[in-house]
């Protein structure tokens, strides 16, 4: 069966192809690439001199410095490596919010698919974690067109259902994604902020570059209902009789507090956070995201 890759928009791809997907910190890639690595390598970009110690490759001795100072120095150069992009897409029931064909998951699919494509195009490895309570697709990060197709296929097959496991998935990614990687999370983050903070700190401890795409619908923020209604939880099916006239004010207070907590978490963890309302064109979101990373390319 041929998967539907309609979430990829050629117009958007051609617009964004000129913008590189950079990491904000050195990456530990498996092959040579365009991203800085924390180790010294064999690129043409001089890094530093250091004293020779026994065991060093004598071919890398700088003879000219020996001639001037009668001391042995090793000349080191920067190493460039590739990027490992771990895409974590929340596939809980709440991601199905929105009109059919334009749900939160659809939006997230576009973001994740486009980024995977961009990464593949610049020779980086990309992997996909589609996470839900009773379903999980995990594709390790690899390079190549075939692997990209696999990721896109999986993206197209992800369905929003069940309760969220985004926190568990973040902890899991922190443990399982080997070496430094760009962990990019697409979710509504309807979780306790304190637990989210804990998960982000875990990723930071593992030196991953974390980027969060927080997808929210304006209706969820405004809570603009006028008549009592039966609200059904999209994750566990629980029903609540709610009179909006009574609780709207409280609801907005809760939302405000929640968003403030998220902001505080981002400040402390340093994650690359993007709060996105679904009415914002996703190519604008991605353009901003890539441009921001262009300006803060990872230092060694």
């Amino acid at each position: 069966m041929s998967a539907d890759h309609s979430f990829l928009d050629n117009r958007v791809l051609s617009r964004l192809l000129g913008l590189p997907l950079n990491a904000r910190q050195p990456m530990m890639g498996s092959v040579s690439g365009r991203h800085r690595s924390p180790v010294r390598g064999s690129s043409v970009e001089f890094a530093q001199y250091r004293k020779y110690v026994p065991g060093d490759d004598t071919r890398r001795l700088d003879w000219r410095t020996w001639g001037r100072s009668d001391r042995y120095y090793i000349k080191e150069f920067e190493a460039d490596t590739n990027l490992r992009l771990a895409l974590i897409v929340d596939a809980s029931g709440s991601m199905g919010y929105g009109e059919a064909g334009n749900t939160r998951l659809d939006y997230g699919r576009k973001l994740a698919g486009t980024l995977a494509y961009l990464a593949a195009q610049q020779g980086d490895a990309a992997g996909l974690w589609g996470v839900g309570k009773d379903h999980r697709q995990k594709i390790p990060a690899k390079r190549g067109a075939t692997h990209l197709r696999l990721i896109l296929d999986q993206l197209s097959l992800i369905e929003a259902r069940g309760e969220t496991t985004v926190l568990e998935s973040l902890h899991e990614a922190a443990e399982q994604v080997s070496q430094r990687a760009l962990v990019l999370v697409v979710s509504d983050f309807f979780v306790e902020p304190a637990e989210l903070k804990h998960a982000l700190e875990h990723l930071k401890f593992r030196r991953h570059d974390v980027a969060l795409f927080h997808l929210l619908d304006p209706a969820e923020l405004k809570f603009d209902f006028d008549r009592p209604a039966r609200f059904v939880d999209m994750e566990d099916g629980e029903t609540m009789m709610v009179d909006p006239a009574l609780i709207a004010r409280r609801y907005r207070e809760v939302v405000k507090t929640y968003l403030a907590d998220i902001d505080e978490i981002i400040r402390t963890t340093g994650a690359d956070y993007h709060r996105i309302t679904l009415e914002t064109p996703y190519d604008d979101v991605l353009a901003k995201f890539l441009l921001a990373r262009l300006q803060s390319k990872g230092r060694r």
Binding site: A229, V232, M234, R250, D263, Y273, R275
Partner: protein
């Protein structure tokens, strides 16, 4: 609470309709698939208390509104405080005060207190009890229970009509007690309809205690006093005190003594001139009487009459006012009979001063005669002609002929004064006996400490001067045992022994007991003769009122004796002269009984209201509380000006309640004022 349409209250479960609708509505509410339920739950948690309370309040107000509608259509009645609601009693006894004062009316409508009360009571019983209770009427004039087929008949019954009698409320209560105990009436409501006149209620009488005890022993008897205590404002009244025919120089005239009075609040009463009409045998003459203050006296007002008119009748009238019963006073006149008295005594020091006093002409127009008989010849007394008997001898034994004759003499309204014999004996008259003689210390006679000067034999003169009773010195006195009304008491030295007592018979007539003698060694009654003279002549005049062929009586059920049907009404209070025979003694007017022999004149009687009906003082709540102490009773005061129904429909209250409930419900349902959400959508990195 009772309802005119109680079946409609079956619709009360409809009050649950809002709950049912609420439940249905809950099931049919719009379903919204929602992702951000964590916010919703948190908001619900924060708002749970008030939200629930508000929801319950809304439901409660809706239920209240529906229930109020059901109550409105059920036509609720007010009157729970009166005992009109809460279920019909088995028996309702109406004790109706038919006294003359109950005819006080509102001039604008012509409705009397009695008629208004009956209408109101009938409507209330009809509405509240329907035909579930047995209705019995006992009226003050006849004291006879009448069981009604329907309460609607109450206002039209002759026994509930107007009368010119006094009301004896204790007797009325006793009649109700007897009826309840005899008929075992079950749960009973006793409605007392009265204007609370003190003269009718006799709150100081000794019978109330026995009545309270009697009613306390009964279960399920409630009293409702429907009172119209309002006194007439500046109501005028007139009463004739004496009518005497006089012939001088070939012409005849009636000498009329009358009292014009007015009642009402306030001290600054304007001076008025009242036209008093005197109608004698159809001839009308009008006298303009100036009235300053509360009363004016007409003394020996001469009314010319035909020389040949030896006897006849007439009336005095004043213009109509709110109190019609005291606007007319009837009188009759005839040659007055001689004022005959008999002294039964064998002690000359006693009977001589008595005889001298009784033979002295207090009224020069009349003739006086007094005979003295020893006790052994008491049978020679001419009872039919004797106005007063002074008995200074042992009281005859109860089963003796002379005792029966004395009793009949008193019941006929004639006078009897009993003086103590030297040997008192054990016999009693109407339960009252002499005990033993007591003596004061030598040379320290006992003075009279208290005497009743407002009424009775020792009352002050018409000019208001008190009799010199306090100057009487008593050296010996005889004790009196039995239930009497004291009219004079000796000082503390005599341990406040009774000097003069009145023994009132059931028929209302009275015998007097004087506990000392006029002799020099006993008291100074003979020496200070004014008191003795006044006392004897007042008793003589009282007794003479029932002698002769022209009698002046107060309307009462026994005013015409045992055969009221033998009397023919010549003139009545309302002028139509068509009263029923058993009502004849109850209505003011002039009546005649034909003589047994054709050559003898018939007897004329003028019936008038009792004097007590002219006294407007009424009982207050405090006195009623004392009278009904320990009984289940309620007072409901009404006035003619502000007549309110006893049981009124109160649907408007429920309608207001419903409106209020709906208003509160609407307020609670008002949507909260929309707020401008101030949320930072963009987050940390815009």
């Amino acid at each position: 609470m009772s309802f005119l349409a109680p079946l409609l209250l079956l619709g009360l479960p409809l009050a649950l309709l809002p709950i049912a609708i609420h439940l249905i509505h809950m099931r049919r509410r719009r379903r919204v698939m929602w992702a951000a339920t964590m916010f919703l739950k948190a908001a619900q948690r924060m708002n749970k208390g008030f939200s629930k309370l508000r929801q319950y309040l809304i439901l409660a107000f809706r239920m209240l509104a529906v229930a109020a509608i059901v109550f409105v259509v059920g036509r609720p009645l007010a009157g729970g405080l009166l005992g009109l609601t809460g279920g019909a009693p088995a028996t309702v006894i109406v004790l109706l005060d038919r006294s003359a004062s109950m005819e006080q009316q509102l001039l604008a409508t012509g409705v009397s207190k009695r008629a208004a009360a009956l209408q109101n009571l009938t409507a209330a019983i009809n509405e509240a009890y329907g035909d579930r209770s047995k209705i019995t009427l006992i009226d003050s004039a006849t004291l006879q229970p009448v069981v009604l087929e329907s309460v609607d008949a109450l206002p039209d019954l002759p026994q509930a009509g107007p009368s010119d009698t006094a009301a004896d409320i204790p007797s009325l209560m006793q009649a109700a007690l007897d009826y309840i105990t005899t008929n075992q009436t079950g749960r009973t409501d006793v409605w007392i309809v009265s204007d609370l006149r003190r003269s009718d209620w006799n709150e100081g009488g000794g019978r109330w205690q026995a009545l309270r005890a009697g009613f306390s022993s009964l279960d399920s008897v409630r009293f409702q006093v429907l009172a119209y205590p309002e006194a007439p404002e500046n109501g005028l009244g007139i009463a004739v005190e004496r009518v005497v025919r006089r012939e001088t120089a070939g012409k005849a005239e009636l000498l009329l003594d009358a009292q014009l009075f007015r009642s009402g609040p306030g001290e600054d009463l304007a001076d008025v001139t009242v036209p008093v009409r005197v109608i004698v045998n159809g001839a009308v003459s009008t006298i303009e009487v100036p009235l300053k203050g509360r009363e004016a006296l007409l003394q020996s007002q001469a009314i010319p009459i035909d020389l040949n008119t030896k006897r006849g009748w007439g009336r005095v009238e004043i213009p109509a006012d709110p109190s019609p019963s005291d606007n007319v006073f009837h009188f009759v006149f005839d040659d007055p009979p001689p004022l005959k008295s008999t002294i039964v005594s064998d002690a000359s020091e006693v009977f001589l001063p008595l005889q001298a006093a009784l033979q002295a002409p207090a009224d020069p127009t009349r003739s006086y005669a007094c005979q003295v008989l020893p006790p052994g010849r008491a049978a020679e007394i001419v009872w039919e002609e004797t106005a007063l008997v002074v008995w200074q001898a042992p009281i005859p034994a109860g089963d003796s002929v002379i005792a029966a004759q004395l009793g009949a003499h008193v019941r006929a309204g004639r006078g009897l004064i009993l003086l103590p014999p030297e040997e008192p004996g054990d016999a009693a008259f109407d339960g009252i006996r002499w005990t033993a003689w007591q003596s004061a210390r030598p040379n320290e006679p006992v003075l009279v400490d208290w005497w009743r000067d407002d009424s009775g034999l020792l009352s002050s003169t018409r000019a208001g001067r008190a009799l010199p009773v306090g100057e009487i010195k008593v050296r010996r006195w005889c004790g009196i045992e039995g239930e009497t009304i004291p009219l004079a008491r000796l000082g503390e030295a005599a341990e406040e022994a009774t000097l003069l007592a009145q023994a009132t018979h059931e028929s209302g007539t009275a015998a007097y007991f004087l506990s000392t003698l006029p002799g020099a060694g006993t008291s100074s009654l003979a020496r200070d003769g004014v008191v003795l003279f006044a006392l004897l002549h007042r008793a003589l005049n009282e007794g003479a009122e029932s002698l002769g062929n022209a009698l002046q009586r107060t309307a009462a059920r026994d005013a015409l004796g045992d055969a009221p049907a033998s009397w023919r009404q010549l003139e009545s209070g309302d002028g139509d002269g068509q009263s029923l025979s058993f009502e004849l003694p109850l209505q003011a007017g002039v009546l005649q009984r034909e003589a047994a022999a054709p050559d003898q004149p018939g007897v004329l009687v003028a019936l008038n209201r009792p004097p007590g009906e002219d006294a407007p003082q009424s009982l207050g709540k405090v006195e009623l509380d004392e009278l009904f102490d320990g009984l289940d009773w309620r007072l409901l005061e009404r006035s003619l000006e502000n007549e309110k129904s006893l049981a009124s429909e109160v649907w408007r209250i429920f309608l207001l309640l419903m409106g209020a409930a709906l208003l509160f419900e609407a307020l609670l349902c008002l949507p909260a004022r929309p707020e401008k959400a101030e949320i930072d959508w963009k987050g940390e990195k815009a």
